[in-house]
């Protein structure tokens, strides 16, 4: 089942995560359609796709928030398809939500400490938040959307997971620069953490080692970042609605 990869080193690398024929339904509607995908350990893997293509749904399927209607998810070779969310978290999967929840009465420090994390201050500094100013803030709507996104990112950093799923970490942070985000992600990589970087922006996907493109719930292309982003650009130029039927006709040049 090992995917034959473009990178020379690719075939020697271990898959940390493997999806086989994954399908997810929401309210009777098929959202993810037969997705098979491998993510190599230690890599930054971009999941690129237009809005509404199923990226968040895929993140939820990996995390266990959504149940699969078909297919399997393997993490470090183990089938985790039926495992509850918290067991996946304990195995080392952590996710930064695209739009993080708010919590009344819970402080940033408490939120980041869940699961016994000790390096809370360090995690805040990593996302450029001053611990002295933020540790005792309450995780409610008194925080701006951008602050919540940073804290969400910090919460993943603090977990020191094996696989970090970052769902559009660049959206909603008005003042974040791409450099800043890249620094956080490359710091994660340096610590040996595999990153699944979800985005709908080509320039963000470009920082990844490998990339996959999802469209209308189908996995359209997977492979080296340059080829995938190029295909994405072409696709966006060609098909108005990002429907798979339109995409199928596009040949990679």
């Amino acid at each position: 089942m090992q995917e034959n990869t473009q990178g020379k080193e690719g075939s020697f690398m271990v898959d940390i995560l493997k999806l086989i024929n994954v399908e997810v339904e929401r309210n009777g509607k098929r959202i993810l359609k037969g997705i098979s995908l491998s993510i190599k350990k230690g890599m930054i893997h971009a999941l690129l796709g237009p809005n509404g293509s199923g990226k968040s749904t895929l993140a939820f399927a990996i995390m266990g928030v959504y149940k699969l209607s078909k297919g399997n998810v393997y993490f470090e070779g183990k089938d985790i398809s039926r495992k509850p969310i918290y067991e996946r978290a304990r195995l080392g999967i952590s996710m930064a939500w695209q739009s993080p929840a708010t919590f009344e009465g819970l402080t940033v420090k408490e939120y980041l400490s869940i699961g016994g994390n000790a390096n809370v201050e360090e995690a805040l500094r990593m996302v450029n938040l001053d611990p002295a100013r933020y540790l005792d803030r309450v995780m409610d709507s008194s925080l701006s959307g951008g602050e919540r996104k940073r804290i969400e990112l910090a919460s993943v950093v603090a977990m020191k997971p094996k696989l970090a799923i970052l769902d559009e970490p660049d959206s909603g942070i008005d003042f974040v620069t791409l450099d800043e985000l890249m620094r956080v992600i490359s710091d994660l990589k340096k610590e040996g953490i595999t990153v699944l970087l979800i985005t709908h922006r080509e320039e963000v996907a470009r920082i990844a080692d490998r990339a996959s493109l999802i469209c209308d719930g189908y996995l359209v292309k997977s492979g080296n970042t340059w080829e995938v982003t190029k295909f994405f650009r072409k696709m966006c130029g060609r098909c108005k609605y990002g429907r798979y039927s339109e995409v199928k006709g596009i040949e990679p040049s």
Binding site: P84, I85, Y86, A89, A101, E104, L106, I114
Partner: protein, 301 residues
């Protein structure tokens, strides 16, 4: 262990420089006054009568502890209290209502409060009813507020039993009123809360905030009333109730405006634990039960 020891073990300081009153049933165990207050107290057949005055301009740094406890399994305790915060005084009252062994304890608090102009009174009532669910508790307060009045009622530890809160505040010109209530009902606890503020003086402001969690077969009914009867008054009602298991929760915000320049708003959320919050915490490795606990504890904080 006597109630005095229980209070001490709970961190209530009963020292010389601090005003306090410790009551077990209808028996006054210990009392202390400090300069600037007067405390008249008397044992009655079924409880005590108390008249507490914080004198004009007196600003107390330490809280006044009112320890109304019942150490027995069965008892009736009726507290009659008149509390006056005179002009420009500042005080914090901490009422500790502890019924650790309650099987059939009936506690009634009948309080009349007056907060004069420029005075600030915070009244914090903390209950602990033990694990038997055998307490019937009826706090009733009538408050005339011309200053700044903040009340907090919390019943979070152990069982509730039966609770019937009945608070009414008449708010005068430029007064500030805040009523916060936090209760966690379990087993077959019954919670009935009626809290009202009449904003009768111009520029008066108020917030009624309730945070209730019920689980098992507990029942709660919260009625929050705010009336805007004068120009430029601002009132807000803010209620959240989290329901689990077979528990039942009712919430009724009643807002009335009788003056064209008055404004009263309300928000209410009632339902089970928020899915997204739950999933977020579970994605940090908490099991469902632990996650619910974190969410409810946060809300009730």
């Amino acid at each position: 262990m006597s109630l005095v020891d229980i209070y001490r073990s709970l961190g209530v300081t009963l020292d010389k420089g601090i005003a306090y009153l410790v009551v077990d049933g209808n028996e006054i165990l210990k009392a202390n006054e400090v300069r600037g207050i007067s405390m008249e107290k008397e044992e009655t057949r079924e409880g005590i009568d108390l008249r507490l005055v914080i004198k004009e301009g007196i600003k107390l740094k330490e809280p006044i502890h009112l320890c109304f406890g019942v150490s027995k399994e069965r008892a009736v305790q009726k507290i009659h209290a008149e509390i006056i915060a005179e002009r420009d005084s500042h005080a914090c009252l901490l009422a500790h209502c502890i019924f650790p062994k309650a099987k059939e304890v009936h506690h009634v608090m009948d309080g009349n409060l007056l907060i004069e102009k420029g005075a600030e009174l915070s009244y914090e009532e903390i209950h602990w009813h033990g694990e038997e669910g055998g307490a019937d508790v009826f706090p009733r307060l009538r408050t005339r507020n011309l200053g700044d009045f903040r009340s907090t009622f919390s019943l979070l530890r152990g069982r509730v039993g039966r609770l019937g809160i009945d608070y009414l505040v008449e708010a005068g010109e430029r007064s500030v009123t805040e009523i916060i209530t936090k209760v966690y009902g379990k087993g077959n606890d019954e919670i009935r809360i009626k809290e009202g503020v009449s904003l009768n003086g111009a520029y008066a402001r108020s917030v009624i905030k309730s945070r209730i969690a019920v689980r098992d077969r507990a029942f709660s009914d919260v009625v929050s009333i705010t009336e805007g009867n004068a120009p430029y008054v601002r009132g807000h009602v803010d209620g959240t109730e989290i329901v689990q298991g077979e528990a039942i929760a009712k919430a009724t915000p009643i807002v009335k405006v009788n003056h064209e320049k008055a404004k009263v708003t309300h928000e209410a959320a009632i339902g089970s634990v928020d899915r997204k919050q739950l999933e977020t915490l579970m994605a940090k490795g908490l099991e469902e039960k632990e996650a619910i606990d974190v969410i409810i504890k946060g809300m009730l904080r």
